[in-house]
């Protein structure tokens, strides 16, 4: 959260100040990247950059505070996921061989990576019972911090429908929580 300084940062970003864009990126990019990873986007880092490119292009049309800015960025990210999924269906990309990726991979903290992978595996096992719409609602709610009306606007659904999807998703998660390994 940027907090009270957000209007100043936003105004500076509109003028092209590098520090302002760095501030915006460091505050919102991790959540956007997490949302894209949770949505199983094939190249979440590239997609994150595209989300911010869109923000650069359309910042002149934005009006609002920090919470609205966060919602706006996640709406953009959600639509980028949909567009990326459609474009990949039209032009399938053959993935690189595992050996090539392993050779190019940078070294890191093995323990952290293992924990991260465990958490992701846990989450994915929880999410396996959810419909795609229920998963979108939960991810936008938990990771994006969007309200039900904001999610409804992003998904093109009524607020009541979003609330119903949310309740069903939570009920399924509570039911599946007992059998998921933690």
């Amino acid at each position: 959260m940027i907090g009270e300084q957000f209007p100043t940062v936003l105004a500076a970003a509109r003028t092209g100040a590098e520090w302002a864009w760095t501030e915006l990126y460091r505050n919102f990019a991790p959540a956007v990247l997490g949302y894209l990873r949770a949505q199983k986007a094939p190249e979440p880092e590239d997609l994150t950059a595209e989300v911010f490119f869109h923000v650069v292009k359309s910042l002149g049309q934005f009006n609002g505070g920090e919470s609205q800015f966060r919602s706006w960025i996640f709406v953009i990210a959600h639509r980028k996921v949909i567009d990326d999924s459609r474009s990949r269906k039209r032009r399938p990309v053959e993935p690189a061989p595992y050996e090539t990726l392993e050779a190019q991979a940078a070294g890191g903290n093995v323990e952290d990576e293992a924990l991260e992978q465990l958490s992701e595996v846990y989450f994915r096992r929880l999410m396996v019972d959810l419909t795609p719409e229920q998963r979108d609602v939960l991810l936008l709610r938990i990771l994006g911090g969007l309200t039900a009306p904001e999610i409804g606007e992003a998904m093109g659904r009524r607020t009541g429908a979003i609330e119903a999807l949310q309740r069903r998703a939570l009920a399924k998660l509570r039911k599946a929580g007992g059998r998921a390994p933690v």
Partner: protein
């Protein structure tokens, strides 16, 4: 067992349905739920999801993204957007000078579109303005004919230029004029004959009045032709009227013509009008009327005696 599980699911749905939006916000943000709400598991789940997916970004990725972002910011200020994925950005690229290609293309397209629209609108305005005027036939003949032929091709009929009708009427009136002139010439001839007559020596103007009629007929024909060109008079009617008038005049001329009219005048006492040549005059007669009459030889074979025919 399935029925029991379903009942549990329905119970959970009911309990979740009672949650307010604020309570759900607290749960999804990972904050502790209200006491004894039985929703600790959901709050814990939200925290796990956030910790799993909202870790930091790799510094290398962050620097790459920020470089690409600033490149976009700087280029966007000039209006040029680079289509380059962040993973392929190695550094700030060269900025394009002037307007970006996209904007230039759009400007050209809009310019041509505007020109085409202007030309089309101008043409339409000219047609819309010309057709009503042309329908009333107020254009000059050639222009009226051209517009009539042009709009005839698209199924609109407006009167052509008056040239055809005027020409037709003018032809008729010209025929009438010719006939009138012919009649007038006859009348002049008759008048000359009468002038040479003995009994008309004193009042040569009685028949000579007919000699003035060609002018009147010519004036009549000209007025008819002018009326025909204006479209105010039907040429056919004028032609018939002119014929009738000519017939009457011919009949009247026959009635006034003396019996020896048209014959050569041989009487020395009948003065011929000056500078008029009678149809029956011979060469010596004409020569006798000239100033060189005194030089005419007296004995000319077949000729008349000197002094004959002098006034």
């Amino acid at each position: 067992m399935d029925g029991c599980a379903h009942d549990v699911y329905q119970g959970e749905m009911k309990s979740l349905g009672k949650l307010s939006e604020q309570e759900l916000d607290r749960l999804f943000s990972g904050k502790a739920p209200a006491e004894n709400s039985g929703l600790d598991d959901i709050s814990a789940l939200a925290r796990k999801v956030q910790s799993a997916f909202t870790g930091g970004i790799d510094p290398a990725v962050e620097s790459t993204h920020l470089a690409a972002l600033m490149q976009r910011v700087n280029l966007t200020e000039k209006g040029d957007l680079a289509a380059m994925p962040a993973s392929k950005v190695t550094g700030p690229g060269l900025q394009a000078s002037g307007l970006p290609k996209l904007r230039r293309r759009f400007m050209l397209e809009s310019l041509f579109a505007t020109l085409a629209a202007k030309i089309a609108a101008g043409g339409l305005a000219v047609v819309m303005a010309a057709v009503p005027v042309a329908a009333t036939g107020n254009f000059p003949d050639q222009m009226q004919t051209g517009i009539s032929q042009a709009v005839e091709k698209v199924g609109i009929h407006i009167p052509a230029g008056e040239s055809d009708e005027a020409d037709e009427a003018a032809d008729d009136s010209q025929n009438a004029l010719d006939e009138a002139a012919e009649e007038a010439t006859d009348a002049v001839s008759d008048g000359d004959g009468a002038a040479g007559d003995a009994e008309g020596a004193a009042d040569g103007d009685t028949e000579g009045n007919e000699g003035n009629e060609p002018n009147e007929n010519a004036g009549f024909g000209q007025s008819v032709a002018a009326d025909a060109r204006d479209g105010g008079v039907d040429g056919q009617q004028v032609s018939e009227a002119a014929r009738a008038q000519a017939e009457e005049r011919k009949a009247a001329g026959q009635a006034h013509r003396p019996e020896n009219a048209g014959r050569p005048t041989t009487s020395p006492t009948s003065p011929a009008p000056a500078n008029t040549v009678s149809p029956g005059q011979k060469g010596l007669d004409k020569a006798a009327d000239t100033p060189a009459a005194s030089h005419i030889p007296a004995n000319v074979p077949g000729g008349r005696p000197a002094g004959a025919g002098r006034p």
